[in-house]
């Protein structure tokens, strides 16, 4: 039976009440308790720093060469917080409500409310750490808008907000390393969780430089290992982002929550060819000022600037007048796909829409000309001033676009298309962020908890830091308070020995298959199955076929994969083989979850379930629950349902019209 441990009481008092009554660990006992943290992105680095500050003995692991490189660094647009600095009607309740609604009523109210509550502390903490957020001339913090909201609550540092927040957390982490509270293991990959007497007690990690397997004990283990978007091969995730840690936890008894909830981000640079290794996001902040359109005529081969204004279809503004270009991501992505599928796509692949800055350049240009006292400015003067403003706001994004495509976005509209970006699903956790394995926690994107079926822009950074700075330092005490009498377990314990042997055997098997096909080629094939049949639109037949195809692919992988190099050395192909093997298994579960959920909600769009206007049709009567999957054996899962109860934000048809 799933116990979500939601505290009793009214929604906006739950977290305060919880904090007031939660068990504490006294400082002298904290020194004796060891915590393992896997992953050093926003969630992992902030947790490692905060728990180190509290006096726990922390060991942190990352597969990159430095904790500063975790993929949180690539987040561009911003971080939400209910500060209401703009006096535009924001509040903790509104942030809570927008997040629940944005998630299409598939998130847990109590968790989301807590997230909205601590959002304001995050901004304060980051400013104190020296995160250089954008500021106004008066010296105070600046905000901008993001999709799915009608207030300005997004804090940002140009197009590099994730980088600046991560560096803040990384520096706090390195400070704890210097103080001896955290021991850092870079270029290490977790390959198993060690469970003793039903509790998580450590991990098996591989030193990626030497190839050696290491055993590490911890009184608790925190997985802060991000999302699994790379199951699609092409995504905006970093090349190394993987599901392995979460998948090993799943195999050791942790349930997987809502695996099919994937976010397809509407504004990415389109695929240019078969060689493509990853996709690049263009920040959602670009939808603040850019207008999205396609030609009104099907199969129009004219260049963008040859198509007159009246022959352009600004389809988001047409379909959703209230939110226009700032509808939530799932809605914007589906609308782009709909236009392209109907034959209105642009570019050589016809799988793209335009994101146009011409009118923003004109609008800003006129304002600037006014400021400079230019009466009747020439078109050229307007343009020149407008370009300057756009450059200051979005310059780094425009430069990135130009480097990748070779086209100048100040002259031509950008071509964009949706791409896999984030996974709302993840390890099932309770209110305390603990998985179904006692002592094993999941934070940040690695858990399923806060975004329901669709995440709003600028909320991933908020959740990662909320979990690490302000949630886990409280909730972990509730578990560790009962562990103070548990002495460190020697890593010669049979459970460690067995786990290490299992890992070593698998590595040897992978290495010794010595087949004919590369790891990369399997990954590409998996990605294609997932994108075609479990991507932006899903249907019963496709999902059933996908499951069959994935099973065949799995058998073929274990029969014919070719892994070069040795085991006891730096071997990136071996690392990749381990990860792809796990992605294949995850792919099957995602399709199974998508098949079972016979409703459309958020990013999960079942073609059989749509309104006449082509909008997602939720089925609250039958599917108002979290799917938590328990692994029973190879390719065999049991579904557990956590009912979602909405006491405050009552589900309604999500409308952005």
């Amino acid at each position: 039976m799933l116990n979500s441990k939601i505290p009793p009481g009214v929604l906006d008092q739950k977290w305060s009440d919880y904090k007031g009554h939660v068990k504490l660990v006294n400082p002298s006992n904290k020194r004796k308790l060891e915590i393992i943290i896997v992953g050093t992105g926003l969630a992992g680095a902030s947790a490692a720093a905060s728990l180190g500050e509290l006096g726990y003995k922390v060991k942190a692991f990352c597969f990159q060469d430095s904790p500063r490189r975790a993929h949180s660094i690539a987040a561009q647009g911003g971080i939400n917080a209910a500060k209401n600095y703009q006096n535009d009607g924001d509040s903790v309740f509104r942030l809570f409500y927008d997040t629940i609604k944005g998630g299409d009523y598939r998130a847990r109210e109590s968790n989301v409310h807590r997230l909205a509550e601590v959002s304001t502390n995050i901004i304060d903490q980051c400013v104190a750490q020296g995160v250089p957020f954008a500021r106004e001339y008066g010296g105070l913090l600046s905000n901008r808008s993001f999709g799915g909201t009608q207030v300005q609550r997004t804090f940002y540092a140009a197009g590099q907000t994730g980088q600046q927040l991560l560096i803040g957390a990384y520096q706090a982490l390195e400070r704890q390393v210097a103080l001896g509270n955290v021991k850092m293991y870079s270029r290490h990959e977790m390959l198993d969780v060690v469970v003793i007497d039903g509790k998580a007690r450590g991990i098996i990690a591989r030193n990626l430089v030497s190839g050696e397997l290491e055993r590490h004990f911890g009184h608790a283990v925190l997985l802060c290992t991000g999302g699994y978007g790379n199951v699609f091969y092409l995504s905006t995730n970093a090349m190394g982002s993987n599901v392995t840690a979460a998948w090993k936890a799943h195999k050791k008894g942790a349930y997987f929550g809502n695996p099919c909830f994937t976010q397809i981000h509407p504004t990415c640079i389109p695929v240019s060819g078969d060689h493509q290794s990853k996709l690049t996001l263009m920040s959602e902040s670009l939808r603040n000022d850019g207008r999205i359109w396609v030609p009104k005529k099907q199969h129009d081969t004219r260049k963008a600037n040859e198509i007159p204004e009246e022959e352009r279809d600004y389809y988001l503004e047409r379909r959703y007048p209230a939110f226009g270009n700032l509808v939530p991501r799932d809605v914007a992505s589906r609308a782009a796909k709909e236009r392209c599928d109907a034959g209105y796509g642009v570019g050589s692949s016809r799988q793209a829409v335009y994101l146009d800055y011409a009118s923003a350049i004109d609008r800003y240009g006129r304002i600037e000309c006014g400021k400079h006292g230019l009466e009747n400015p020439s078109a050229q003067e307007v343009r020149q001033h407008g370009v300057e403003v756009v450059k200051e706001k979005y310059g780094n994004l425009f430069d990135m676009y130009e480097k990748i495509t070779g086209e100048n976005p100040y002259e031509l509209p950008m071509r964009i298309y949706p791409a896999v970006h984030y996974t709302m699903g993840g390890l099932w956790v309770d209110y305390e962020l603990m998985t179904t394995v006692p002592g094993l926690y999941a934070l940040g994107e690695a858990n399923f908890s806060d975004h329901g079926a669709n995440r709003l822009g600028a909320s991933a950074l908020m959740q990662g830091l909320a979990d690490g700075y302000f949630v886990i330092p409280y909730t972990i005490g509730n578990y560790l308070a009962d562990e103070i009498r548990t002495a460190s377990i020697e890593t010669s314990h049979p459970a460690f020995e067995a786990a290490e042997k299992e890992v070593a055997d698998r590595i040897h098997t992978l290495k010794n298959i010595n087949g004919t096909q590369t790891v990369e080629s399997f990954h590409k094939r998996l990605g294609k199955i997932m994108w075609d049949k479990c991507g932006m639109a899903r249907n019963e037949e496709g999902l059933k076929t996908a499951i069959e195809e994935i099973r065949q692919l799995k058998a073929e992988f274990w029969r014919d994969v070719k892994v070069p190099g040795g085991i006891m050395e730096m071997n990136p192909e071996l690392d990749k083989a381990n990860r792809v093997a796990d992605f294949i298994e995850l792919g099957e579960l995602m399709c199974l979850d998508a098949l079972t959920r016979k409703e459309s909600c958020g990013g999960h769009f079942r073609e059989e379930m749509q309104t006449e206007e082509g909008e997602a049709k939720r089925d609250d009567e039958n599917f108002c629950f979290v799917s938590a999957w328990e692994l029973k054996g190879e390719g065999n899962w049991e579904l557990h349902k956590e009912p979602l109860v909405f006491e405050v934000a009552h589900p309604s048809q999500r409308s952005y019209k």
């Binding site: 020296g130 290794s277 495509t405 070779g406 004919t516 070719k562």
Partner: protein
């Protein structure tokens, strides 16, 4: 944009591990699209090497968006290759022409030992940050984010320094393998903010001491670092670092 394909002659540094002496191997790659990124070109070569039964070229990379700082190739004598303000992962093959020879090496610096092929160990940078590259504020201690206004110009300058991705191109480009641009970016980022002020003196002294300890060389102001920095971190940060260092050194009180 005109697309074309090309055949190239690659000379790549191969080194089995830290102890190995290392050598160049030559590879011919054909049919490379001008739309590929440089790393995708290496991917194509690696796939071929694996199929042929040889060891693929090991290199560091992760985000492939120019922000994580992991990629680190020294291409035709320049860190991150021919384009200005660009990381290796953002370098695209349009930068090259059919028939070109491209020489690819790892970062070369005493403080960055080679791990394998084009991968180096940059943990020295982490240890420099550990020595003082932070503001000592525990979680939960913070005051309201708007309680201390920060002059926009200073906040912007601080951000411009904080954009450093810690890739180490500055060290690789410097004839003395100095890490001054990296250290100055961090010192500037924090010194320009009121929040960083209390530890201003100890920070710069400790970070400089750690830099020397790690075996990085001295700065002779040739500007090679600034010229190759993918984030175009300005050398004026080094001037600020020197000023901070001198003033911290001249006053004993902390």
């Amino acid at each position: 944009m005109e697309h074309y394909t090309m055949n190239l002659n690659l000379q790549v540094w191969r080194q089995k591990n830290k102890q190995d002496k290392g050598h160049f191997d030559t590879y011919q790659v054909s049919n490379i699209s001008s739309e590929m990124s440089f790393l995708e070109m290496i991917d194509v070569l690696n796939e071929r090497l694996i199929r042929e039964g040889s060891d693929p070229i090991a290199f560091d990379h992760d985000c492939r968006e120019g922000i994580c700082g992991m990629c680190s190739m020294y291409i035709n004598g320049k860190p991150h290759g021919p384009w200005e303000g660009t990381t290796t992962c953002q370098l695209h093959m349009r930068a090259f022409r059919d028939g070109d020879t491209i020489v690819v090496e790892p970062w070369r610096a005493k403080a960055f030992p080679v791990i394998k092929d084009l991968m180096v160990d940059r943990s020295a940078f982490d240890r420099i940050i550990q020595s003082g590259g932070y503001i000592s504020v525990n979680t939960g201690n913070a005051v309201d984010g708007n309680s201390i206004p920060v002059e926009k110009e200073k906040a912007d300058a601080s951000f411009a320094a904080a954009m450093c991705i810690g890739c180490g191109a500055c060290v690789a480009a410097c004839k003395n393998s100095s890490a001054m641009l990296f250290v100055s970016a961090k010192v500037s980022h924090l010194a320009l903010l009121p929040q960083g002020s209390p530890e201003r003196k100890t920070r710069v002294l400790d970070m400089m001491a750690q830099m020397d300890k790690e075996g990085f060389g001295s700065c002779t102001n040739t500007g090679a670092c600034e010229a190759v920095c993918p984030k175009e971190i300005s050398i004026t940060n080094i001037a600020r670092l020197n000023a901070e260092y001198i003033s911290a050194g001249l006053t004993e009180d902390k």
